[in-house]
Amino acid sequence: MIGKFIKSAGWPRIIIAAFLLGLFIAAPFVGVNIYTSFNNTLVRFGMNGIMVLAMIPMVQAGCGLNFGLPLGIIAGLLGATLSIELNTQILEWLVKFGTQYKYLSFLSQEFVTAYRQPIGFASAIIIAIPIAAVLGWFYGKLLNRVKGDEMMIATYVGFSSVSFMCIAWLLLPYKHPTMVWGYAGRGLRTTISVEGYWLRILNDALAIDVNEHLRIPTGMLIFFAVTAVIVWIFMRTKTGTALTAVGSNPEFARASGVNVDRMRTISVVMSTILGAVGIIVYEQSFGFIQLYMGPFYMALPAVASILLGGASVNKASILNVIIGTFLFQGILTMTPSVFNSVFQTDMSEVIRLIVSNGMILYALTRKVRA
């Protein structure tokens, strides 16, 4: 019984889960506030959850782990920066629509001003999604041509798009004073604060203060839940079912009249869009938009999380996402606080490297069905 459990869960997961449990048990004894830890874990769970969710479509469609997540993140960054750049225009347009069309008449000046922040956040997402869809479509076409090598190529597509965007961030004609370098008057800054736009817009929505250390970011968790439900429903549609079959056995799917390449492209588009939305949610909580090399290594934690949650290179579920993100973020938050108290040193970076990459290695070296 126990043997079977260990076999199905895999040693690394059990070790890591036990490690996290140990950290939580040890925390009170070394003077770490359990509420603060839990609070941090929850917040980081909400921040990262959607990016982990972005792994599901591609894994299910047999495209492997999406190491090319930075591509989606770039779309998200474009959405975020454009929403700030165009903030005033967008608000003006909305008011104009409100006066033009009767059924939009609720869009009064007062209304728009009052809901400036949610509108900004929504516009970031609405701008990001089509960009992500287009990028994802090309990316999907590319991956269809390189079947069998998706993961390595995805990694480098991610890297090269990030470094390409580094050039673009410098050259794109952004003008907004809070975003461009003050002295040159052009070129985006490396980090851009979203304060005054949509800082913590989800975190603070409906937030529940349990005590001074624990504040449940209800809005963000609900947002994650809604996204998860959308993914869940999508995987149950006719397309989602076909997509899963493609990942499970492409030959079967082909013999059943499914267009395998099309399904794979759809999964990549889905994954890229989720990555874009994910980074915007991350930024609203984090408070800053990180440009340039910021998105560089963002795929690895997401990949590691879903694997930690029990997914394999070709099967993943929402439950894997929830468990994995919680475990991974839990370790990231608990390790520094506990280790700091015990050893007076922060080992979280090293632990993160070993845990996340060890987990990916473990998944890659598992025997797959031929």
Partner: protein, 571 residues
């Protein structure tokens, strides 16, 4: 080429083999003398490859419990557990698939892992592997081996630039170069050769035999066997049926020995419930109507008409095939493995690149589009159950309903083209219906298909096809890899389905007897072409002759005559 030595080179005593309680080989005894060429013939599944695997020490044999009986080499008992032991003892093997390194030259391939090395100090300090290769000596040796074969191939030619025939010679040259090779097994070496290449090969083999090497030659081309071999062994159902001088056997006799007659009797019980009629090709429709639903009577049109079909299916190439299948008929496609019989249904269903004309109820079918084929109400059960037929990691209800869901929009909730979610309740209900109807042994509709036994998996594949409510059902190898009880069940299910729904069924199978027991007519495919179409009641040896590529002997109504010969004793 009589035995000029006192002791045989290789002697087999009562060799037998069982795979998981399934006896595939029993009591095989024969001997080979130096310089002798022996022809080994038999249908697919007669036990040829198992026998080769035993003699060559393949790990499959060892890992499934070894074999019975004894093998003597030079009258010394040997027992090979790895191919390397067999090689070391002087047994060479040329496989059907090429085992050559494509980017290497002929020389490098002939001497693969037997390279001539320059001695050096390094090799004493470390290992032999750090010595450099003696290229000129290697070149010489390769040339000698190639010359022994009597062909003209440059030793420096790269294998991937060679015509297929050359590759075969390189394979053989590799075995010849092995200094100690005394017995050579050749498994269908002429299958990929042109006629002139095959002739060169045969004369090369004769030359080799004169130098004292014993050869065991497997081929489906009986004329070749008869020309080359001094003795012929016929295997059938894992038994050695005949061991005779080739002069004493006619082609027809070999064919009939291979296909067998005692098994036919056993089969006749199975055939009982099919109306057995002397069928003539001309008025097949009338004959068929006796066994089918009366309402189909007026239809004279064929359900499926195939003209000059070619299919590019690896290992099962179809070159030029034309045939007709009548409405409500059960049509069989038989032939040896690798000759293209599997390519026909796979090509019609659009799974492999294909060309030619296929008409379905008079209307042209677009090839190369599985979706179109499915929408035209054809259903397909693949021979590759685990590779193509099933989603092993998904539950049974998925497996059974998926194709219907994707192509016919069933088992879905919502608005078509806009938003449709799968109806898991309906899926499970449909799956359960078939689980009950076909008696699929499982824990429930949510069990994963990969966890079922072969027979039950096959039933799931059938269910998947039945759910589509097809007009034409194409089934490949319906009984491959499943136990006897399940076999009968599967075949009975097919017959019943045909009776109840009037569905036209095309069965492709390597097991001729099975085809003859279920089908109305059987087409035999040989080297990518149809060798002939016979009524199921035709004699076994007629089928055998077709399979052996002897269709030239068949003209006109000869097949009717052969029916009368049935029961005659050949020996």
């Amino acid at each position: 080429m009589d035995n000029n030595n006192n002791q045989p080179l290789l002697r087999l005593e009562h060799i037998g083999k069982e795979y998981y309680g399934n006896r595939v080989l029993s009591d095989i005894s024969f001997e080979i003398n130096p310089g002798e060429i022996i022809g080994l013939v038999g249908e697919n599944g007669a036990g040829k490859s198992t026998l080769l695997n035993i003699l060559f020490g393949n790990s499959v044999i060892h890992s499934t419990g070894g074999y019975d009986g004894n093998i003597y080499l030079d009258e010394k008992l040997v027992h090979f557990t790895t191919p390397h032991q067999a090689l070391a003892a002087g047994i060479g093997m040329v496989h059907q698939e090429f085992s050559l390194i494509p980017g290497f030259s002929a020389t490098e391939n002939i001497l693969l892992n037997r390279e001539v090395l320059n001695g050096s100090l390094m090799s004493y300090v470390f290992s032999e592997r750090v010595s450099t290769l003696d290229r000129s000596e290697m070149h010489k040796r390769a040339l000698t081996a190639i010359n022994t074969l009597g062909v003209n191939i440059s030793p420096d030619m790269l294998v991937n630039e060679m015509p297929v025939g050359y590759k075969q010679f390189i394979e053989i040259a590799r075995e010849i170069d092995r200094k100690n090779t005394r017995i050579l097994f050749l498994d269908e070496p002429t299958a990929v050769l042109t006629e002139s290449e095959a002739e060169i090969l045969l004369s090369a083999l004769k030359k080799l035999a004169r130098s004292g090497i014993a050869i065991i030659f497997i081929s489906h081309r009986l004329s070749e066997i008869k020309e080359l071999c001094s003795r012929i062994l016929v295997l059938r159902d894992g038994k050695l049926i005949t061991d005779q001088k080739s002069e004493d056997l006619t082609l027809r006799q070999i064919a009939s020995l291979m296909v067998g007659r005692e098994s036919l009797r056993k089969e006749e019980k199975l055939i009982e419930d099919i109306p057995e009629q002397p069928v003539e090709i001309g008025d097949i429709n009338e004959t068929l109507d006796l066994g089918q639903k009366p309402k189909k009577k007026k239809k004279k049109k064929p359900a499926l008409k195939v003209e000059h079909l070619w299919v590019d299916m690896p290992g099962e190439t179809v070159r030029d095939v034309s045939f007709e299948v009548m409405r409500g008929e059960i049509f069989g496609i038989g032939g040896l493995a690798g000759h293209g019989k599997l390519g026909i249904p796979n090509g019609i269903m659009g799974l492999y690149p294909a060309g030619g004309k296929v008409r379905l109820f008079g209307k042209r079918l677009t090839l190369n589009r599985p979706r179109v084929a499915l929408n035209r109400k054809m259903a397909f059960v693949s021979e590759d159950r685990r590779g193509v037929g099933l989603l092993l990691d998904e539950p049974l209800d998925w497996n059974i309903t998926f194709t219907a869901m994707q192509n016919q929009g069933r088992f879905l909730l919502g608005i078509p083209y806009i938003f449709q979610v799968r109806n898991e309740f309906a899926m499970a209900k449909e799956a359960q219906k078939f689980i009950d109807a076909l008696g699929i042994k499982c824990t429930g509709t949510s069990q994963k298909a990969g966890e079922l036994s072969g027979g039950n998996q096959q039933k799931v594949c059938l269910a998947k096809a039945f759910v589509l409510q097809p007009d034409i059902l194409l089934i490949c190898e319906p009984t491959r890899g499943i136990d006897i009880g399940a076999k009968t069940l599967v075949l009975d299910t097919l017959k019943e389905y045909n009776k109840e729904h009037g569905t036209t069924i095309i069965i492709t199978s390597s097991e001729l007897e099975e085809l003859r027991s279920v089908c109305n007519r059987v087409a035999i495919v040989d080297e990518g072409r149809i060798a002939g179409v016979l009524p199921a009641s035709s004699s076994a040896e007629d089928f055998g002759m077709l399979m052996m590529g002897q269709n030239s002997n068949f003209v006109g109504g000869e097949e009717v005559n052969t029916n009368e010969k049935e029961g005659e004793n050949i020996a």
